[in-house]
């Protein structure tokens, strides 16, 4: 009798919700019944309210059961071996509306394949992009990226093609690819999910980038809060080396590229590229003044392509399917797809990959289902701790870089954190400053000291001391931080603060300005 094959995620969310206990319970139960059980640990599909989501394949389609607890192991196993019926059965996984509505170019394999199996990866379209890249020259690869319109997915949205071209044309004896996997923004987990669920996608993207710009060495700067991603990624690198995908003779072409994972030591600022480079050199993660750009003088002073995980994971599909295919998704200057992450007080939290242009309201209400507390949504913070708090009247805005920018917000890394009516925006603004106090690298004064003063000013506003004057001081302080900070930490901390004041003045005790009677 062939083994019973089941799929269960090893993703951090699934494990945090008990997937490992479910795995043990299933194995025990199978052993008791003398059934051979092959339990494939996959990535997550991103429908996190269903985790742990157990899947079984029937007629080449996956049927899901979720959220499964260890107590369900016996009855779910009965169902799978029987007629399939069970309270926890969610039917065909890919037919679930949340999943079906997506365009998965990056997360195509996530939740489907065994993240450590090269065989699985290849049989699901893996390395098609790399093989194309290995047959054209570096300049042609850079041109393809340029034509695709891909922009940095870390938050800045800088055109990737320009960055690639700069590094590629720089003259040096050594160049580097550095992956920014220091995903510290609250409300974001796309990097973590792809590294845990489809690490070869990142590896492939990195090799393509290396070949394109003439770099032979790549580093993944991974945050220490992601131990499972570290384990999976290192396992995938070992397997890729063994298969000749990494090393001195990539896929028999004689080209060299290798990857090392470097684990940080807990510092939000290390998500800023120059701080990250200092940290990777084993130093304090203080930011560097730009110029020189890392593309010309980066790691150890050598030309370095620093990219976010999702930026590089977008690359294999662009090469495999062509720039035009990719460019046809999205809107305006925001081409392709973005993995939006729905988090906080939301009924259907998880990862939703779709083309730019989806509105905030669609994400929060239609896809996310509103709040899990069943109260009305009062605010959503877009793009991490340095992102704006937006009220429901702005949810008709399409998610794309330019629209968000024009409205005092930003797409950032695609995180959307939902708050219900119990939120107090003064407290959230205060927290933005507190976070900056905690995480400022200390190099420049507006950020290091301004953040401390920000907390104090908000406390005075809350206490009603010289209210009007302090509201003015707050505004002034924000302006100074924006103008005077070296990097986005100090420069963007005012965004959540000022958006909170602007859209939720009542929480700051600010009365709507009456027209002065003259």
């Amino acid at each position: 009798m062939s083994a019973l094959k089941l799929f269960l995620p090893l993703d951090s969310v699934a494990i945090a919700m008990g997937a490992d206990d479910v795995a043990d319970a299933l194995q025990n139960e199978a052993a008791k019944r003398k059934i051979k059980l092959e339990l494939v640990r996959t990535g997550s599909r991103g429908m996190h309210w269903l985790e742990p989501l157990l899947e079984v394949e029937k007629d080449c389609k996956r049927i899901g059961y979720g959220p499964v607890s260890e107590d369900d192991a016996v009855s779910v196993l009965d169902a799978i071996l029987g007629d399939g019926r069970h309270d926890k059965c969610v039917g065909l996984v890919e037919e679930i509306p949340f999943f079906k509505k997506q365009t998965r170019l990056i997360f195509e394999r996530c939740g489907v394949t065994d993240p450590l199996s090269l065989e699985d990866y290849k049989s699901h379209g893996g390395f098609e992009g790399l093989d194309k890249a290995l047959n054209i020259d570096g300049a042609a690869i850079c041109e393809e990226i340029m034509q695709s319109g891909l922009r940095g997915r870390g938050g800045a949205g800088f055109p990737a093609g320009i960055k690639w071209k700069t590094v590629s044309e720089a003259k040096a004896d050594q160049k580097y690819i550095v992956v920014n996997a220091d995903e510290g923004d609250s409300g974001t987990f796309a990097d973590r999910m792809i590294m845990e669920g489809d690490p070869f996608c990142l590896i492939e993207g990195m090799i393509i980038a290396g070949v394109a710009v003439g770099a032979t060495k790549g580093f993944v700067y991974l945050r220490s809060e992601y131990p499972i991603a570290e384990r999976v990624l290192n396992g995938a690198i070992v397997n890729a080396r063994a298969a000749g995908v990494l090393g001195d003779n990539i896929r028999g072409t004689g080209k060299t590229f290798d990857i090392e994972v470097f684990v940080g030591a807990g510092a939000y600022i290390c998500g800023e590229e120059t701080s990250l480079l200092n940290s990777l050199e084993g130093k304090r993660g203080e930011v560097r003044a730009k110029p020189p750009l890392p593309a010309l003088e980066g790691l150890f002073g050598k030309p370095t392509l620093v990219h976010n995980v999702i930026s590089l994971c977008s690359v294999p599909a662009i090469l495999a399917k062509g720039a035009k295919f990719y460019r046809d998704y999205g809107m305006g200057k925001s081409t392709g797809t973005m993995p939006f992450q729905l988090a906080g007080n939301i009924k259907y939290g998880g990862l939703f990959e779709t083309a730019f242009g989806v509105t905030l309201g669609e994400l929060v209400n239609d896809i996310g289902g509103g709040t899990f507390t069943e109260k009305s949504v009062r605010a959503a913070q877009i793009g991490g701790p340095l992102g704006a708090y937006l009220p429901p009247e702005m949810y008709n805005l399409p998610m794309d870089y330019e629209t968000m920018l024009a409205n005092g917000a930003g797409v950032g890394h695609g995180g959307v954190v939902v708050f219900d009516e119990s939120v107090n925006l003064l407290e959230q603004a205060r927290y933005a400053f507190e976070f900056c106090v905690e995480e400022s690298c200390g190099k420049c004064t507006p950020c290091r000291i301004g953040s401390v003063r920000g907390v104090e000013v908000i406390d005075r506003i809350r206490a009603g001391r010289d209210h009007e004057k302090n509201v003015t001081v707050l505004d002034d302080l924000c302006e100074l931080m924006v103008d005077g900070s070296l990097c986005a930490m100090g420069g963007m901390t005012p965004i959540p603060v000022q958006s909170a004041v602007k859209h939720f003045p009542e929480d700051f005790g600010i009365k709507q300005k009456q027209e002065a009677a003259t």
């Binding site: 309210w49 974001t188 090392e260 470097f262 084993g282 906080g344």
Partner: protein, 151 residues
């Protein structure tokens, strides 16, 4: 003893940080002599080593409790009742964030995002991830970590 842990990292990219992580994994904290030993081996000043140690949240110069309980204090967890969750845990163990119990069995500390924002609030108890966390769930996780340590 420290030199033996640190030595393999000399000459590696970002070696100092990796070495400090290794010392902490082995010893539980960074003893005072770490600065001198690492400084010698990496051929940098003690001040530079001290600067690196003091910069990163993960490094500690004091021994922590046997089980480190990290509670997420970031926005997505706040949105899901994280502030209340943190104060409940603080009350349950009569500890504030950043403190270690007198019996040295637990340390409470904040962490800014574990990437579990879609099943918030989140916690990490002795390396175990806990989603949709509550004070009761944290207690269960601590007991479990203790049990596993014994066995």
């Amino acid at each position: 003893m420290l030199a033996k842990i640190i030595e393999p990292y000399v000459g590696r990219t970002g070696g100092l940080i990796s070495a400090l992580r290794a010392v902490q994994a082995e010893v539980g904290y960074l003893p005072e002599e770490t600065e001198a030993v690492a400084g010698d081996l990496f051929n940098i000043t003690r001040a530079e080593v001290k600067g690196v140690i003091s910069f990163y949240h993960d490094f500690t110069r004091e021994p922590k409790g046997e089980t480190v309980v990290r509670l997420c204090a970031a926005e997505a967890c706040q949105a899901a009742g994280g502030r209340q969750f943190v104060s409940e845990v603080e009350k349950q163990y009569a500890l504030k964030m950043g403190e270690t119990s007198a019996s040295k069995d637990i340390t409470l500390e904040p962490v800014y995002c574990l990437g579990l924002c879609s099943c918030a609030p989140a916690a990490m108890v002795g390396g175990r991830l806990v989603g949709m966390a509550s004070a009761a769930k944290v207690e269960k996780a601590i007991e479990r970590v203790k049990r596993e340590r014994v066995s």
